[in-house]
């Protein structure tokens, strides 16, 4: 296993350390890293937590591809060496740990929460939402923020102001939610980011997504929504459309 090493306190260079690790068929790349850290070299730094593909911590570049290392089997790379590097398109903090503050800020900027003109009190019970209405946004709610899509995205690599696949998918998750009335507010925010029009629907983000969120689809639908809103703005005063604008993109 060749592991990328970056120790900013010692050197600006990225080097590779080679470690011999066992690879029983159950072992994932993360098990290999844990073996290294526990038995061979305690200084190797990386993030991990749930080891069941849902916390989103352990994304890395494995033999050139962005992967969740807890869901990538070592035996698939036998006899090796398998090359483990940090996710691309992010600043590296150390070894395999990248800085994702940019995404955290972008996520907050798309207002990923239910926006309503009027809230009903809890005592009035739930908002009704049929299974079909749930299905309309469910797929986009499955994003685990693992950052594989940003790592794979050629636009984000060239244009860091691009708000990016996961944040747009999550904006759409709320836009398409029957309980939400914030589409217009989010449109204003998303439209400020020119980068989105640069997305050429190459679809790398969707291909690498471990949860089948299909961010590329979300971006295309968003573009359509935004264009419709832009066209509509000539005909109807803003604010008249609301939910229909988001829904319109689906047809």
């Amino acid at each position: 296993m060749d592991v990328a090493r970056y120790r900013p306190e010692e050197s600006e260079d990225v080097t590779f350390d080679r470690f011999e690790v066992p690879y029983p068929k159950e072992w994932v790349v993360l098990d290999g890293l844990n073996y290294v850290k526990d038995q061979l070299d305690g200084t190797v730094s990386y993030r991990w937590s749930c080891r069941m593909g849902v916390c989103g911590s352990c994304g890395m570049t494995v033999n050139g591809e962005p992967k969740l290392t807890c869901a990538t089997f070592l035996a698939d790379y036998a006899p090796g060496p398998v090359r483990v590097e940090p996710l691309r398109n992010f600043p590296v903090i150390r070894d395999l740990v990248v800085e994702i503050g940019d995404f955290m800020r972008k996520l907050a900027s798309v207002k990923p929460w239910i926006i309503r003109g009027e809230e009903k009190p809890v005592s009035a019970g739930e908002y009704l939402q049929t299974p079909d209405e749930l299905d309309a946004y469910k797929q986009y709610s499955m994003c685990i923020n693992c950052m594989l899509c940003y790592s794979a995205c050629p636009i984000y690599g060239l244009e860091p102001t691009f708000i990016g696949p996961a944040a747009i998918a999550l904006a759409q998750r709320y836009n398409l939610d029957s309980r939400d009335e914030g589409t217009e507010e989010r449109l204003d925010i998303l439209s400020q980011h020119e980068g989105i029009w640069g997305c050429t629907f190459v679809g790398e983000c969707t291909e690498v997504c471990p949860k089948h969120v299909d961010p590329a689809g979300a971006i295309q639908r968003y573009k359509l929504t935004a264009s419709m809103a832009w066209l509509k703005s000539f005909v109807v005063p803003r604010g008249a459309g609301r939910k229909e604008e988001a829904a319109g993109a689906e047809q």
Partner: protein, 596 residues
């Protein structure tokens, strides 16, 4: 004059950095943060977490969250199920509040966008769950914790009074004359050590499954908050009650949700026999029956596995003895609609498809019924210190938690702790400036302990492995005075050995070895409280089964264990009464027998 001025400066009060500081950004922490922000938007709230909040272990919860909503259900029935499930060690006033507030909290989460499964008409759908008399478990497929956590996290982003310290690792609570008034933490990215003062601190750090070798718990579940509170002088309560979930996948310990059984899955032994019928859990029926067979409580199901093992009726695998969970008769459509994550996990990690194949499973450490001793508002005996979620013990879970009670628990008691801490912080005196000295001392301790390379000695992982093995052997599903005695001695020795672990990493930047060493010390402290509490409880109740004391003993042990830390690091064990309101202790009956 100068001297006087100097002294005055040293002891003057300083405005705390935050009004309320939360340690932990999982479900309980985020719910508390929002509760504070909504109670009083002027309060400055901080969420300090060793991982980004959406990485927190709440994310792994699968099956659902209990809250009475169905027309045929009642609060009293949820109370009774919880109390009998907990083998009468639950505080019944706390259970009553919990059951009353759970549906409101779950509805609030619905308003915040949680994608709960629905009935055809758009109302919330509920499913059955182990130990419950009625259908009352709300669910978002079988990724309920994931959706709850992301809903809470994304909703928390709209409250500007909440600031976050993402990837900051707390090493110590600041205590001034018995009052908690802040923390010391390491910013992982820079290695900077900081003292952060606060009017009140809420610990929402979750459980400590990593004390054991085979657990559903994520790598981060190392009992940090429990150990921080314990070291600060707060007692840990009922730590001997450790839940083994009956269905974990071999090798990884990945959880296969109880919902797999509540949707109709069977547990079978090597002969294909539904063995639970031999353990006083009722008769097998083709469809699931409430409080019967596969819908029995987790403690009884895990104990039945051990009995099957002793009878030689389990299946041998390279990863130890297993039984099978059979979902094949449920069909692909139901599995994909209600258990998609079960299928995904089996395919990805076990290379099998539950639609056509049997799933090998065995009991796996899952949840701590015990935790930091709190009252019904999350307050610990230390002024200024609160706790909620799995880190805390209120106690609603008693000697055995029912599946789907932990998610509403972190909402109900996260919110309660948040409101109580907000109220306390708005009247609490400012911390004295001398508290900075404690911070400096902690900083020096960390520097001297970790800034020197130490190549001789044992590796962190080696000591951790011995600790985990010790816990499984001495405090597993069945324990005895003898096994626990051995465990206690082994842990004491490990405490000493751990002082000299190998330290290879001297860098400040994202030093995960230093974190691992401190986590190990937290886990050793927590492990000792478990063993000492278990050793002194000479009865069997819920998840605490003593082979040398096989019966429940209400006369001597209808009480909570409280473990305090002595100055020399040893444990002092005390007890407190259990609150009984309307459900006097009775026999726990499952499998269709007399209910009340």
């Amino acid at each position: 004059m100068h001297a006087g001025q100097y002294l005055f400066l040293e002891t003057r009060a300083v405005k705390p950095s935050h009004d309320v500081l939360l340690v932990g950004g999982g479900g309980a922490g985020l719910r508390a943060a929002i509760a504070i922000a909504e109670t009083n938007p002027r309060l400055r709230v901080a969420v300090v977490s060793k991982v980004y909040p959406m990485r927190s272990h709440t994310v792994s919860a699968e099956g659902g969250a209990a809250g009475v909503i169905a027309a045929d259900d009642s609060l009293d029935e949820h109370c009774y199920d919880t109390i009998s499930g907990g083998d009468w060690l639950s505080d019944q006033d706390a259970v009553e509040s919990f059951v009353r507030e759970a549906p409101q909290e779950l509805t609030r989460l619905e308003h915040w966008g949680c994608p709960w499964n629905r009935q055809a008409d758009g109302r919330i759908a509920v499913r059955p769950f182990g130990g419950m008399t009625k259908q009352r478990t709300w669910f978002a497929a079988d990724k309920t914790g994931f959706h709850m956590l992301h809903t809470l996290f994304q909703t928390s982003l709209k409250y500007t009074s909440v600031v976050r310290y993402d990837e900051w690792f707390v090493t110590k609570l600041l205590v001034d004359e018995g009052r908690v008034c802040g923390i010391v933490a390491i910013e992982l990215m820079s290695g900077r050590i900081e003292t952060i003062t606060a009017g009140a601190v809420i610990l929402c750090t979750g459980g400590c499954g990593r004390v054991f070798p085979f657990t559903t718990n994520a790598a981060i579940k190392t009992g940090d908050g429990m150990a921080l509170a314990y070291r600060a002088g707060a007692p840990l309560k009922d730590m001997e009650f450790i839940q083994y979930h009956p269905t974990g996948l071999p090798f990884t310990g990945i959880l296969i949700t109880e919902a797999a059984r509540s949707e109709g899955g069977y547990l079978i032994n090597k002969d294909g026999y539904r063995y639970l019928q031999d353990y006083n859990l009722g008769k097998p029926e083709p469809k699931p029956v409430f409080r019967t067979m596969e819908l029995g409580p987790r403690d009884r199901l895990s104990q039945a596995f051990v009995k099957e093992l002793q009878k030689g009726r389990t299946i041998d695998t390279p990863y130890g003895p297993m039984v099978h969970l059979d979902l094949r008769h449920l069909g692909e459509t139901l599995i994909d609609a209600k258990l998609p994550f079960v299928r995904e996990l089996c395919q990805k990690y076990q290379n099998l498809d539950p639609v056509t194949e049997l799933i090998p499973v065995r009991p796996v450490v899952h949840y701590m019924m015990g935790g930091i001793h709190t009252d019904i508002d999350g307050a610990t005996p230390l002024p200024g210190l609160y706790a909620a979620g799995e880190a805390a013990c209120v106690s609603i879970n008693g000697a055995n938690r029912l599946g789907s009670n932990s998610l509403p628990e972190l909402l109900v008691f996260g919110a309660r702790a948040g409101r109580a801490a907000a109220e306390y912080a708005s009247t609490a005196p400012d911390p004295k400036s001398s508290i900075g000295v404690q911070g400096k001392e902690e900083e020096e301790r960390l520097e001297t302990q970790f800034r020197r390379k130490r190549t001789a000695g044992e590796r962190i992982a080696a000591i951790r492995d011995v600790m985990q093995k010790t816990m499984e052997e001495s405090a597993g599903i069945y324990r005895s005075g003898e096994s626990l005695g051995r465990g206690a001695a082994a842990l004491r020795a490990l405490q000493e050995r751990s002082a000299g672990v190998v330290i290879e990493d001297q860098s400040r930047t994202f030093n995960t070895e230093r974190v691992a060493a401190i986590e190990l010390s937290f886990m050793l402290d927590v492990a000792e409280t478990m063993i000492n509490a278990a050793l002194r409880r000479e009865e069997s109740r819920g998840a605490h089964q003593r082979t040398d004391f096989p019966a429940r003993d209400d006369e001597r042990f209808l009480k909570h264990t409280l473990v305090y830390r002595n100055p020399d690091g040893s444990c002092r064990v005390d007890y407190s009464p259990v609150t009984i309101t309307r459900w006097p202790p009775a026999e726990r009956v499952y499998g269709g027998g007399a209910k009340r």
